[in-house]
């Protein structure tokens, strides 16, 4: 079976690098992007097994990206994990309402990320 490709949309370089490292070590291919509009573009052009989407992104925030993705017929079922901040219950409700597949709360553990991505790409 071909390795699933994961898009990580996260503008903080340290977090992006760690995610890149742990996902590759868990046998995924990874694309990194630090801008919301670019992330949307890549989802439209590439075929991803899952997307990890931060809310606080420059260019176009995570909510807007998610809305645009769900409006595309081809991307309507794409698994998207939204990274939210602990205590930001409103963010979570909003993301749920516009079609997030799962949430991971910062600060997260690496094992949690890998496990969740495995579930969604199984």
């Amino acid at each position: 079976m071909a390795r699933a490709r994961i898009l990580v949309a996260e503008d903080e370089p340290s977090i992006a690098q760690s995610l890149d490292f742990i996902l590759r070590r868990a046998d995924f291919d990874v694309d990194l992007v630090g801008d919301g509009a670019l992330a949307l573009d890549m989802m439209k052009r590439q075929s991803y097994g899952a997307v990890i989407l931060d809310i606080m992104l420059p260019g176009m925030n995570g909510f807007d990206v998610l809305r645009a993705v769900r409006a595309e017929e081809r991307l309507a079922a794409l698994p998207i994990v939204v990274l939210t901040a602990k205590g930001q219950a409103n963010d979570r409700r909003t993301a749920e309402a516009i079609g997030a597949s799962a949430f991971i709360t910062k600060p997260f553990s690496n094992a949690e990320i890998v496990e969740r991505i495995r579930e969604l790409t199984a």
Partner: protein, 491 residues
Amino acid sequence: MVEKLAGLKIRSLRRKAGLTQSELARRAGISASYLTLIEGNKRTVNGALLNRIAAGLGVERTTLDGSGERQLAESLREVAADPALGARSIPPASPEELVGRYPVWADLILRLYGAFQDERQMVMALADRLSGDPFLAESVHRILTGVTAIRSAAEILADQGALRDEERDRFASMIANDSDKLSATARSLVAFFDNPNVRVRSATPMEHVDAFLFETDNHFPTLEAGAEEFLAGLRPAETVEAAAVRMTGPAADTPRSRIEPSETRRFRLVRAALAPIVEAEARRLVGQHAALGSEEARELALVALLNYATGAVLMPYEPFLRAAEEARYDLDRLSRLFGVSYEQASHRLATLRRRGDEGVRFAFMRSDPSGYVTKRLPLQGLPLPRYGTACPLWPVYRAFQTPGVTIASFGELPTGDQFLFFARAVEKNPPLAGLPRHLLSVMLACPVGQAGRVGYGDGIDRKTAMIPAGVFCRLCPRPACVHRQEPSLIA
């Protein structure tokens, strides 16, 4: 309500003086049983009888007519209507009962409420700040980002076996970098909370000053005397302004003074020259008064008294009262005659209360466009709200629609008391580019019985143009009023 307070007051003063009912009745020339009825609030006490009872008790008549207590009762009524206290209706026992029987407790309730208001405002300001402060929101985001990065990299490092050397170095240096950033964020957060710049204005000291002015009837004979002394010291043909300059030197030339209205500058100049003459007396008046419970309140009251004395110099009692009566209280005319602003003249009108030589008794209220009351001097029968905005029908608010124009109207309160109200929105400070004009509305009100002496009521038909007004919505029983902002607790 008036009688109730008088009855209770008479009884408590009589007991305090160690007099029996029959002894006081004898002194007042009435029967003991009639006094029993009066003390039990079963009979009205009229003017002449009240005078005799006061003489019998050896107190001033004003001690008995209970105006201070009525004010206290009005304030308690307002407190009872505060939705924050959860009252769905006004308590059945009247506040007058409480004030009459337990004045100290009544006063304590008001003080407690004042303190509660202060705390409530502080909490609201802090809550606003915490939830809406962009710096805090940004800091929380940075902390979470930093912690997430460090945790993730640390977990990778902890899993040692799987790492190459250069990977270990990369994640170790990431942790070092992110720790640095996190420390900087933590430091700026600490600095933020160390900075005591959350200042919430306490409403209490200003209220104490209001109470002080009300209890002293906003008239200070010794300050009037101080002002006369100042005027007596003028050299022949010397103006007040010239004397002030002679005594303290010319006013400082600052960017602000260059654009301020001439009346404001004149007022400041005279106040500076007058202060050394009247300050000791003003401090004495302030220092001995029970209503001024804090240093802050005493300082505010001192400023109010210095302004009072300055007003008395610029608008000396006798000539000002004569001119006011002659001009039928036309504030524009009075301002021009005495070289003062509309607001300064309005203030002075509310102080013309010398016994035996009184002007029209005015209530005074000043509000900003948001409805915040910045000065208040209530009147018997016309309580001015302490903790909220007043009736929207009062001209104090309408005046903002046409700044510089005096708006007058007759109004009848639900109690049946009628008043002549007149207000004007005046520009407090010169306009600053890009900011709205700094307008304050100044309102005077007098009982309808005295309105005949005041020109602002001329031409208004009291029968057809008597506006059914209130004091404020929560205590107003007029269900059909289209200006109602919130439901009434008593309708």
